[in-house]
């Protein structure tokens, strides 16, 4: 049960109204906040898509590079084998030529 003093306190703490524009200001801020949130979601999506693109392009480039390096090394190996075969052939031809000149 409240006494007179407490009732006086209730009087001192009566509710007050905010300024007449408060409601419109809050609704405006809510709209702004929603717009910012949508923009932030779009930005996060764009960042994610860009990251995926960079990863895909990067790994494709890396794959292409290693493929080229593999091809280069296979080419060098083939060239070395060809040179060896040519050298052997040349030596054999030289021997045949010497035998032919000796006859």
């Amino acid at each position: 049960m409240m006494d007179d003093f407490e009732k006086q306190l209730q009087g001192a703490f009566q509710r007050k109204e905010p300024s007449p524009f408060f409601e419109a200001r809050v609704l405006g801020a809510v709209k702004r906040q929603a717009r910012e949130r949508r923009a932030s979601v779009r930005m996060r999506w764009a960042t994610a898509v860009a990251a995926v693109l960079i990863a895909v392009v990067g790994s494709a480039w890396q794959h292409q590079r290693s493929e080229r390096a593999r091809e280069d090394s296979a080419g060098k190996e083939a060239k070395a084998r060809l040179e060896l075969a040519l050298r052997i052939t040349s030596v054999k031809l030289q021997k045949i030529s010497q035998k032919v000149e000796g006859i």
Binding site: F5, A12, E17, V30, Q33
Partner: protein, 172 residues
């Protein structure tokens, strides 16, 4: 779909804002004693409400949440201002009050005295006498034990009674 408990029309953020703006603003205003700061805090509270609006199941839940967040935001606002070296609210001017002339002096005096209370007891008094909340509800809103709320109320009331009696004696 969310429905107001006392009406058939659906509950919308705008309808809650319209119905509760006076309560939220008054909690902040009586605590901060400054209209601009109180509107800033109240706007913040409603922006936070909007973010979680779909989580609320009833008007009572919204009211309780608004009181709790308005109280805590107001306390945080004062602490932040103090940490930034701003003038303490105890030194702030007493706002104009729309009351009957006979009560004017006493109400002004009460507001000055309540403004001089520490933050938590001051908010306890506001929730008790503005919002007519019971000590159990205040304890839940401010995350403090019920006995602490009761002790704040008793001590604040005793202090206010004594100072008011003394100042009335001075006037006489």
């Amino acid at each position: 779909m969310q429905q107001s408990e006392d009406a058939a029309e659906p509950r919308t953020f705008a309808s809650v804002l319209r119905a509760q703006q006076s309560m939220v603003f008054s909690v902040a205003y009586h605590f901060l004693r400054d209209r601009a700061s109180a509107e800033e805090v109240a706007q913040d509270v409603f922006l936070q409400l909007h973010k979680r609006f779909d989580e609320f199941e009833s008007d009572a839940h919204i009211s309780f949440w608004l009181r709790k967040v308005a109280s805590n935001r107001s306390i945080d606002y004062v602490r932040k201002r103090k940490s930034q070296g701003a003038v303490g609210l105890e030194d702030a001017p007493v706002p104009s009050v729309d009351v009957q002339p006979a009560d004017h002096f006493l109400n002004r005096r009460l507001q000055v005295l309540i403004g001089s209370l520490p933050e938590k007891p001051r908010m306890v008094m506001i929730l008790r006498y503005q919002e007519d909340m019971m000590p159990e509800e205040i304890a839940s809103a401010l995350d403090m034990p019920v006995r602490t709320v009761k002790s704040h109320l008793q001590r604040s009331l005793a202090m206010l009674r004594e100072k008011i009696d003394r100042s009335m004696g001075d006037v006489r």
